[in-house]
Amino acid sequence: MTKQIGIIGAGKLGVVLAQIALKAGYQVDIAGSGSPEKIALTMMVLAPGAEPMTSAEVLANNDVIILALPLSKFKQLGASSLAGKLVLDAMNYWWEVDGKRDDFNDPQIGTSELVQNYFKDSQVVKAFNHMGYHDLLDESIIFKPQCEQPKALALAGDNKQAVLQVQQIVTDFGFTPLVLKNLHEGLKLQPGINTFGANLHLQALQEAIDNYTDTTFGQQIAQLN
């Protein structure tokens, strides 16, 4: 059976994830913020094979969905529109796009938990969030001629089955998965933590996560746990 994935968001990250997914042999459906026609040329040139459609069509066609839209926009998707689906949350708080938002910078509750609370009938796993989009493209071993030790990508989720599935996707995409205890632990991958931007091998990434209290935001998280 062909593997299939839907991507919501056709900006820098969405395009890179589409390129990687295609190379990994996935069938890719993708939606931008506007009509499919608006991203058709971009896909034809940058990610040929990815199918541009409306977000409603992407959601209807796929059981596995990557969210790669600005964090402040996820509630534009209906809360029930993702019911029963596996949702990979690749979004991050980026104040210069999202505006100043205290709720996206809260040491008590991670942004992926906010996403899970909203899509309450979906299984949300935080993934593909801590590595910069061009590093994802440069580092994925599926684009490299020689065999190399893949770089590590951390993921966090509450549902064991969902986490296993995402581990497989991360591996297919050319990275080594590093699984955190639960979705709440995803806080340790957010902007303001020393893991944010990490482009590291497994052990070094684990060390960075263990040292999350090195930053102020990390200390705030630790005080609440």
């Binding site: 900006g11 210069e96 061009h134």
Partner: protein, 347 residues
């Protein structure tokens, strides 16, 4: 073969004196004027100044600084990188740059951008939720103003115009206009739609990854039936006598500046490994003149760009360090790049 142009770009970083103390914003601005004059004397094609609204950069009104450079220079093109059109008024932008064009005898160029820094939004009373619509509407109006004929326009982001004629007109009838693009495919297509040339800001990672964007730009112009213009790129760099000296200077200038900006966005500080990788394979043009020339030539050839701008003043360098990069760039790097490109053209 079309001639490749070479530029120097700065955001007006604050220089330090020999004791490491920072100069005032006013001194920083006067320093950029002196550097623009120097670049002109040394035959650099373009100087481009970027608009920012934060304490690390003194330039918030690039065209004011360019006007000062204009009256003391002969040949150099006076550009921005970028002018944040989203939080500005297109009519005023046109007027300021057509005025600069008059002062400089036709050497003005404006580079329009959405702004990767968005400090200007709250400062001027714009809502980040309107990020897309602001640029979309304003570039639409600006493209009409470029015809230098009366404009009738209506939109959501500013008052409508009814047959409005805007002055001063340029002598050439055309204000040189670029669009600065950071890596959003939509921005490339937008520039193609308005028939405007593109400048790629490549501030990290391998320049080769922008190759598909060059293809996207060509395909878009083809599909839209708009003219294909030469594409440019800009990246950070430091040049010194030796590779080692340049690396150490870049480590305490470019790296420090990037970390300062990154901290605001929640990024972890740059590791030495990442820094070295940017120099070896990425987008920092750091080293001796020969090292930097080879790297620039490689990027120009691999992407097929026709303009390369070096962002030369990152962090808190001394005036002498900044001037040395400018002098080595103009006197040694540019001629070496030209000769590498000419050799390859003859092969």
């Amino acid at each position: 073969m079309e001639k490749v142009l070479f530029g120097l770009d700065t955001f007006g970083d604050i220089p330090a004196n020999d004791n490491g103390e920072l100069l005032s914003d006013a001194q920083a601005i006067r320093q950029v004027v002196a550097e623009g004059v120097l670049a002109d004397q040394l035959g650099v094609d373009i100087i481009a100044l970027g608009e920012h609204h934060r304490e690390d950069f003194a330039i918030s009104s690039p065209e004011m600084v360019l006007a000062a450079i204009a009256t003391q220079t002969e040949k150099i093109k006076l550009s921005t990188g970028v002018t944040v059109l989203s939080s500005d008024d297109p009519v005023r932008v046109f007027q300021r740059f057509s005025t600069l064009d008059a002062l400089s005898n036709g050497r003005a160029q404006v580079m329009l951008g959405r702004g990767s820094f968005t400090e200007s939004f709250p400062l001027f009373g714009f809502d980040l939720n309107d990020y897309d619509v602001l640029f979309e509407e304003k570039i639409n109006l600006f493209s009409q103003l470029l015809t230098e004929k009366p404009v009738t326009w209506q939109g959501k982001t500013r008052a409508p115009l009814q047959n409005a004629d805007v002055y001063p007109k340029t002598e050439s009838g055309h204000l040189d206009t670029f669009v600065g693009v950071g890596g959003s495919p939509e921005s490339i297509i937008r520039a193609a739609r308005y028939g405007l040339p593109v400048m790629l800001a490549i501030i990290g990672g391998s320049p080769e990854r922008f190759k598909p964007y060059m293809r996207l730009y060509e395909k878009a112009t083809e599909q839209l039936g708009t003219p294909v213009h030469p594409v440019g790129m800009h990246s950070h760099g430091v040049i010194a006598a030796t590779d080692e000296e340049a690396r150490e200077l870049a480590w305490r200038s470019i790296r420090v500046s990037m970390d300062r900006i990154g901290r605001d966005r929640g990024w972890a500080p740059m590791t030495r490994e990442r820094f070295e990788n940017e120099i070896e394979n990425g987008s920092y043009y750091v080293g001796s003149p020969t090292t930097v020339a080879k790297k620039i030539a490689r990027a120009i050839k691999s992407l097929g760009v026709k303009r390369f701008d070096l962002v030369y003043s990152a962090g808190n360098q001394t005036i002498a360090e900044r001037q040395r990069t400018i002098e080595l760039y103009a006197n040694e790097v540019i001629p070496q790049v030209r000769s590498i490109l000419a050799e390859d053209a003859n092969d």
